[in-house]
Amino acid sequence: MLVVARMQHWRDKLLSRGTKLDVRGLRDTMDQKNIVEIDDLHYARGSRQIFKGLNLEIKRGEVTAIMGPSGTGKTTLLRLITGQLLPDRGRVRVDGQWLGELRRAQMYQLRRNIGMLFQNGALLTDLNVFENVAFPLREHFDLPQRLIRHIVLTKLHAVGLRGAAYMEPGELSGGMARRVALARAMAMDPKILIYDEPFVGLDPISMGVIVRLVRRMNDALNISSIVVSHDVQEISSVADRSYLISDGRVAASGSPDELSNAPSELVRQFMHGMADGPVPFHFPAPDYASQLFNDRPVDDQGES
């Protein structure tokens, strides 16, 4: 009996701490227009400078696309927005809170308001679909079974997979896994939904489903969405505003129409998928002729 009482005491203590933080967070952020603000962001991995003074604003209630050639650090940017990485210089503000100033517990509190969809879904492989969606609820709240069941089935219904509730993650196709992950990301009713390359490797039907879901979730739940992608066509059809990132900065921003008519060479190359342009077709290499007719092939490896 004593043990049970002790456990309840600790649980109450933990829960009360959680709710206190939440209330304060709400009050601070009531009237912010931008849900994410990035100010003069610098970030380097090893000797490679990935961001050199990036400025970006994401408005509440909109679907914002972040585009850019492969290797421009789009996924890194998401990790910076979600506080999994901290910038070398500059600041990131999410939902009214500067990430650098948050303690670990506050960061976790903030993340309860962020749903994130990983590239491959990242479903927990030892739980079935239902338990995956229920996972954040079970971890954070002490809800009755019936309520959890209710919430999970509603979320699964929203992505059209109520019928797959008792399947294992291994049995799902790529598109279905991503939809389950989307249901899981929504389980906590977040204010921000983040999609990391949601369209990669999907067949046209699954792609269409995901595109529609991005828009529908955003409008129906009145949340803000951030979509990282380089599928120009798909993303243009759903985004309210797009940012094109290149060489560590924002190269262009605006509505999809503004971007595709932009005067910049780089933006045109990217939006229309041209093979050569400011982003060259050839990776930097020594002179072609001299390398071909070089009689010391060791030099090709860059070693001497």
């Binding site: 456990m7 976790y108 993340r111 309860r112 990242a122 927990l124 971890e139 899981r184 906590m188």
Partner: protein, 252 residues
């Protein structure tokens, strides 16, 4: 020089990791379901392996000690000899080595694959700490299982020695058990139990550490699994010597 500082840095990080696991452990202990599932996976599912190996290790001890002690006419002490050897050395060490191969590799590759497939990041994004949700239950599961497996190994081993020495080789059963009970003191039993506990913590710690820090590629997970077995084996043998030295020093 560089590799030395690297090794020291790793060793220090491992200890900080250990402290973090210990700090999270009491809270995780309250979630009995999480821990008991890991005790089942690491412990109960290794049971058959441990019992078969324990039986044959005990049997070979019975055989060797009987045939060699016979030369000195001291075959009566086979029971005592087998019990001491199993309890103090072979039980804890072989259990820990088998555990590293069976449960340790499973832990390391499971956690490593969870990292590779972004499951740990996904948990962090759901504001769930992967250390307390994934790593600590597995660590506790292993640390609880190994001492229990050690006891079972030792018990089955003594039975194996008995079956070889008494019914097979014709030693007197009464002599076997009475020598065993007279010759084994409390501190002998304690030494074996302490070794089991220390090895359990060591083997589980190394397995979850290697898995958690695996490089998120197929090759990285493979290397983490290998390192788990190798590092556990080395650590176990070093600790075995140290605990034995302390035990002998303190009991004379």
């Amino acid at each position: 020089m560089h590799t030395l500082t690297e090794a020291l840095r790793n060793f220090g990080a491992l200890q900080l990791f250990f402290v973090r696991l210990l700090r999270e452990s009491p809270a995780v202990m309250l979630r009995i379901g999480l821990v008991s599932r890991q005790v089942f996976k690491a412990g109960a599912q290794s049971l058959m392996l441990i019992m078969v190996c324990g039986f044959f290790v005990g049997a070979v001890i019975g055989l060797q000690s009987y045939s060699n002690l016979l030369r000195f006419g001291a075959e009566d002490v086979v029971g005592q000899f087998a019990a001491l050897a199993l309890m103090k050395e072979l039980g804890p060490v072989i259990t820990a080595l088998l555990f590293a191969g069976r449960a340790g590799t499973a832990l390391a590759s499971e956690i490593g694959l969870m990292r590779t497939t972004d499951q740990l990041s996904a948990m962090e994004m759901m504001a769930v700490d992967p250390i307390s949700r994934v790593v600590v239950p597995r660590f506790l599961g292993g640390a609880i299982s190994l001492p229990l497996l050690n006891c079972i190994f030792t018990a089955v081993g003594i039975l194996g020695a008995y079956i070889v020495a008494v019914p097979l080789m014709g030693l007197d059963g009464g002599a076997f058990w009475s020598e065993l009970r007279q010759g084994v003191a409390d501190y002998d039993v304690n030494e074996g139990i302490i070794k089991g506990v220390v090895f359990g913590i060591t083997a589980s710690l190394i397995a979850v550490w290697e898995g958690y820090n695996a490089i998120p590629t197929a090759e990285g997970v493979g290397r983490a699994t290998t390192r788990t077995v190798v590092n556990t084996a080395v650590a176990i043998l070093i600790f075995d010597f140290m605990i034995t030295a302390v035990a002998i020093g303190s009991t004379g």
